[in-house]
């Protein structure tokens, strides 16, 4: 029953996301100009040798505002209006084109992107810029295709010889939403007030408080006939406080708030309370004992679990990693097999706009290849179902499922959106902690761990390296069999994906959201993870590396050290 209740909210949200087209795509001036130029040029482009067989334009028109504050001073405040055109040109054929990853040479993921003039009058200056960018992109695509062709002649056979591209279906979509507006003066005051809390804290060596937003539209026009207009809306307040122990261990506490309107931001009282809490945690960390390498039972709290799934499983089920021989392909041949604890199902659903009133950064209507977003079941009851797909087919998966994503100026590859973990059975969190204590005693271990917060980490997916991960928790408690907790520092989580995911014994009902940005071949993309806290039968901890230098000799000047 609980499982269905969990799924219901995002079915409703998905429906809302697609029900509200409210503008006529054909009357949008950028779409008209881009379509006209594409229509004028595509025949000539297809006649080239090698042919430019597909062209897509992504035109982003948005405002980006930012305020950065440190030490009670504004280090940056600015508003930039952007008009960026990105051109995806494909040379060759769907069978083999310029985007293929080279075996013997470096692959470039850069896409031609350039600033555009405003559309004024007949838009002639805009069209000129489109024509010029298209020409450059086409020339680059041809050069890349020649490298691909040369590489294919001498490189070893590809294990997966699927085509390089499948044409996306023709789509039209037009949605307008109110622009995000924020009172930047009030936000500056709020950030300055929060910053003042670090003023006399000798253990706070660095701090930053910032607010940024993006509001505008993305237009997509391609040679298949897809025409899209989608709102771009992201806003985030974040802060971090940093310290260092006497022996050089770097310590960080940070917090982010993703919103879509000012009212969703914490008020001053709440923000100051949160910052105060983070400063207290940082102080506790500076005095905390260092963790020892050990394998013990542990709880991964909800947000930490979301990051864990993203890093350890999510990247390994991105489609292109199953195709290219340079990757370890941990899961490539495991469709239909159990890969994680049968307790868990994992869905990547970019159509989910929010969860528990928290806007999800991984939400989008169409991906960066013009393919409609949809929920993709990756794992059901522990069994692998499929992969995140862009328009680059792989063996057994011939079509995109709307996960071709890339940063501005980067060629899209398969990426995550909103990666959601659903547990078939859950217990209240307090009960999960009790189960942890029981497991510690059962294994006769001196203590276990609660991983409260995780800043990120890395996972090795290339075949030249062991298929391991290393994640960096920023707040970890050691919990003793009698229930006492002690904060520790310098604990990194390590392991291998297939083993680690099968150590999950139980899950809590405390689903929460991790909103972040993920960097990979196709640049930085906003992502979200939703997960419950989970109990791991065992988790391997190793020591964190230390910074190169000791903390400064003198205390920070704000502490009165004159």
């Amino acid at each position: 029953m609980k499982k269905y209740l969990c799924l219901l909210p995002f079915i409703v949200t998905s429906f809302v996301a697609y029900a509200q087209q409210n503008c006529d795509i054909e009357s949008q001036q950028p779409v008209q100009l881009l379509s006209a130029e594409l229509k004028r040029s595509i025949k000539a482009l297809k006649r080239q040798k090698p042919p430019i067989y597909y062209v897509a334009y992504t035109y982003n028109e948005y405002e980006r505002g930012e305020i950065d504050v440190q030490d009670q001073g504004v280090s940056y405040r600015g508003i930039h209006n952007n008009r960026i055109l990105q051109v995806q040109a494909r040379a060759g054929s769907t069978r083999m084109d310029n985007t293929r990853t080279l075996k013997k040479d470096r692959t470039y993921y850069a896409l031609r992107a350039g600033e555009m003039p405003e559309i004024e009058g007949d838009g002639k200056a805009f069209i000129m810029a489109v024509w010029r960018q298209t020409q450059l992109a086409a020339e680059e695509a041809q050069q890349d295709f020649n490298r691909v062709r040369a590489d294919a002649q001498t490189a070893s056979d590809r294990t997966d010889d699927s085509p390089d591209f499948v044409f996306p279906p023709k789509e039209t979509f037009c949605l307008e939403e109110p622009a995000l507006t924020f009172d930047l003066d009030a936000l500056e005051k709020l950030l300055l007030a929060a910053s003042s809390l670090t003023h006399d804290k000798a253990f706070v060596l660095d701090s930053s408080f910032s607010f940024s937003y993006v509001t505008g539209y993305q237009y997509f026009v391609d040679s298949v006939g897809t025409r899209l207009k989608m709102p771009q809306r992201l806003a985030r307040l974040m802060y971090s406080v940093e310290g260092k122990t006497a022996d050089g261990s770097k310590l960080v506490r940070s917090q982010t708030y993703d919103v879509l309107e000012q009212a969703q931001l914490p008020d001053e009282t709440q923000l100051l309370a949160d910052v105060t809490q983070s400063i207290a945690e940082l102080q506790a960390l500076t005095q905390a004992p260092e963790a020892e390498p050990v394998t013990v039972p542990a709880i991964l709290k909800n947000k930490a679990m979301a990051v864990f799934v993203h890093e350890v499983l999510g990247h390994r089920v991105e489609g292109h990693r199953q195709k290219e021989d340079s990757f370890g392909k941990t899961f490539t041949d495991k469709v239909g097999q159990q890969v994680v604890s049968p307790l868990l199902s994992i869905v990547d659903d970019a159509t989910l706009a929010s969860f528990n009133q928290i806007p999800l950064r991984g939400f989008y209507y169409y991906d960066d290849e013009g393919v409609k977003a949809r929920p993709v079941i990756l794992v059901k009851d522990g069994i692998l179902q499929g992969f995140l797909m862009s328009s680059s087919p792989i063996k057994g998966f011939s079509k995109s499922n709307g996960h071709g994503r890339g940063d501005e100026g980067k060629r899209p590859v398969a990426r995550m959106g909103n990666t959601r973990v659903i547990a078939s059975e859950t217990v209240p969190y307090e009960q999960l902690e009790q189960q942890l204590l029981t497991e510690i005693k059962r294994q006769n271990k001196p203590y276990g761990f609660i991983i409260e917060d995780l800043s990120g980490g890395f996972t090795l997916t290339e075949t030249n390296y062991p298929q391991t991960f290393k994640l960096t928790p920023t707040l970890v408690y050691r919990i003793y069999p009698d229930g006492q907790k002690e904060v520790v520092r310098g604990a990194d989580m390590v392991g291998t994906p297939l083993v680690s995911f099968n150590e999950i014994m139980a899950a809590a009902d405390d689903y929460d959201v991790f909103n972040g940005s993920c960097g990979a071949e196709s640049g930085w993309v906003p992502v979200s993870g939703i997960a419950p806290s989970v109990l791991l039968r065992k988790l391997e901890i190793e020591k964190t590396g230390k910074a190169e230098s000791k903390p400064p000799v003198l205390p920070p000047p704000s502490t009165g050290g004159k």
Partner: protein, 553 residues
């Protein structure tokens, strides 16, 4: 008369330099308080305490810019200023200190960078916090370098009697000028102007991209050291830029850009800038109709802007970084200048070269090289560098050259180097300047003497840091001319400075823009046209670019 005016200027500036008291603003106060604390208390066990600390803060403020292409405006940024900080710490003493040394692990000049921070918060606490961190890092770096330098010196034979001190202390001075906010220009007015200028590009079918921009910018500098040398100065200007890409009639794609710095965007200066649009479009037209060049050895007449770059590359750079960095590695300090001995013959006779750091403008054009006090707190002096073709003086810092002469206030930092010898505003003065017609006659006569059919005039130097095209004009003996493309200078050396045959009488100031430098360039060269007796030009290989796949709309 000219010289007297100049001397008076120096005297006035010197008076101002010595009279100021430390301004009471957050920048100076933060630097003063952190220097005081660090000099008193910064001490790591086993390491000497700082002997000298210096800070420099640079605040860059941009006004609202205007950019347009073919008559359509581009998006712009509205932003506040950017505050950057530099810090360096010296330990030891004047005889033996931690500076002037580059550890082997690095390419020598890279090992000699000041510790720096960007985007500092604009608050007393924020600036002090950053200075505290930078000072600690600079102190750690100085401690490591001091050890490495001592070990290096122990490994070398040294003659104690003749050995140079590392530092010859110099009198510390100060200079303060009031810093006003960047003037606010009417952004709509600027946008209208760039639209009007850029729309003219539509008239030329061979132009594929044409952008005109106007950006007001101001750089405020604050400097303080632990020996009470300080300065505070500010310079505002308006940058106008033209950028274009063309495809000439032979099918070669070429980029071309020019920059003009103005004191403001008054009607008069707008009119001046508009004449640059004319000139820019004429240059583009010349590129379009230019013919492919052929190899050539013979006289070349450098027009003032090309001559400015030539003087920078062959002369200015050889008067800088004169004291080489000692290093325990194989790395060679390639930035070290060659003109380090007084009396050395470096140019053709009849040319005098000055460095004038106390000038802040030339014919109304602002000069970013204005330097009343250098980055060691020493009063900057106007120098006559070259007279009758020979070096008569050198830029000096407190780190003496072999002749042990004291500093003359030419120690300047860049974002890539702690203070070293550096020039700012370089003036090239021919003893017998020729009127334009006479200069051309001399040029063509020389071609005749060499039995050449034509000679070359270079209008724009192909800069290594910009994408400027060299603009060559082939001038025949009868005075007719045509523009030429596809040539480059081969084997240019300082020899060409000694090959200057004649110079014009209409100098032009060239702002030397460097990569990574924001705001008005800190180095300038003012020179008339120069006739070089012989240069070797070679053709640039290459085939025409592909025709566009689709016709230009």
């Amino acid at each position: 008369m000219k010289k007297w005016t100049l001397l008076l200027g120096i005297i006035l500036a010197t008076v101002a330099v010595q009279a100021a008291s430390l301004p009471n603003n957050i920048y100076m106060k933060a630097m003063k308080d952190e220097i005081k604390r660090s000099m008193a208390k910064l001490r790591r066990p086993g390491v000497e305490k700082p002997y000298f600390i210096a800070y420099k803060l640079e605040q860059l403020t941009w006004g609202e810019e205007a950019v347009a292409s073919f008559g359509a405006p581009y998006s712009t940024t509205v932003r506040d200023s950017q505050l950057n900080a530099y810090a360096w710490v010296d330990i030891g003493n004047a005889q033996k200190d931690s500076m002037g040394f580059a550890h082997a692990a690095y390419y020598a000049p890279y090992a000699y960078r000041p510790r720096s921070g960007t985007n500092l918060p604009k608050s007393y606490d924020g600036i002090r916090h950053t200075l505290w961190q930078l000072t600690d890092r600079a102190y750690t770096f100085a401690a490591e370098t001091y050890q490495q330098k001592q070990a290096y010196e122990r490994s070398k034979q040294t003659d104690k009697k003749d050995s140079l001190p590392d530092v010859i202390p110099a009198k510390q001075v100060n200079y303060v000028e009031e810093i006003n906010p960047l003037p606010v220009y009417d952004a709509n007015h600027m946008r209208k102007w760039v639209k009007e200028q850029s729309v003219r590009g539509k008239e030329y079918p061979f132009i594929e991209q044409f952008t005109v921009s106007v950006s007001p910018v101001q750089k405020d500098s604050y400097y303080l050291n632990s020996k009470d040398g300080f300065y505070q100065k500010s310079i505002a200007a308006v940058q106008v830029e033209w950028q274009a890409q063309i495809r000439n009639r032979d099918g070669f794609k070429r980029k071309y850009g020019r920059t003009l710095w103005l004191p403001d965007f008054s009607s008069e200066n707008k009119a001046l800038a508009a004449t640059y649009t004319d000139g820019f479009l004429e240059d583009l037209q010349a590129f379009n109709t230019a013919v492919k060049g052929e190899s050539y050895i013979g006289p070349v007449l450098l027009m003032p802007e090309a001559a400015g770059r030539f003087i920078y590359e062959e002369l200015v750079q050889n008067f800088q970084n004169l004291k080489g960095l000692a290093s325990d590695g194989e790395a060679v300090d390639t930035t070290m200048g060659k003109f380090s001995i007084e009396g050395q013959r470096v140019m053709a006779p009849g040319i005098t070269v000055w460095d004038e750091p106390l000038r802040r403008e030339a014919n109304g054009i602002p000069l970013g090289g204005f330097t009343p006090v250098d980055d060691e707190g020493v009063a900057a002096q106007t120098l006559k560098l070259v007279e009758q073709g020979r070096v008569v003086d050198l830029p000096r810092t407190t780190r003496p050259l072999d002749d042990k002469k004291p500093s003359n206030g030419h120690a300047l930092i860049t974002h890539q180097s702690m203070p070293r010898e550096r020039l700012s505003n370089v003036w090239v003065e021919p003893a017998e300047p020729l009127a334009w017609d006479d200069l051309v006659s001399t040029f063509l006569d020389r071609c005749r003497e060499l039995d050449l059919e034509y000679g070359y005039v270079l209008h724009q130097w192909p800069g290594p840091y910009n994408e400027n095209l060299p603009v060559w004009e082939r001038v025949y003996l009868d005075g007719t001319s045509e523009f030429v493309y596809g040539l480059k200078i081969d084997g240019l050396t300082t020899r060409s400075l000694r090959d200057i045959l004649a110079a014009g009488d209409s100098p032009v100031i060239s702002h030397i823009d460097m990569p990574g430098e924001v705001g008005l360039p800190a180095q300038n060269v003012d020179t008339p046209a120069l006739l070089i007796e012989e240069m070797e030009l070679i053709t640039v290989d290459g085939k025409p670019d592909k025709e566009p796949f689709v016709k230009k709309p």
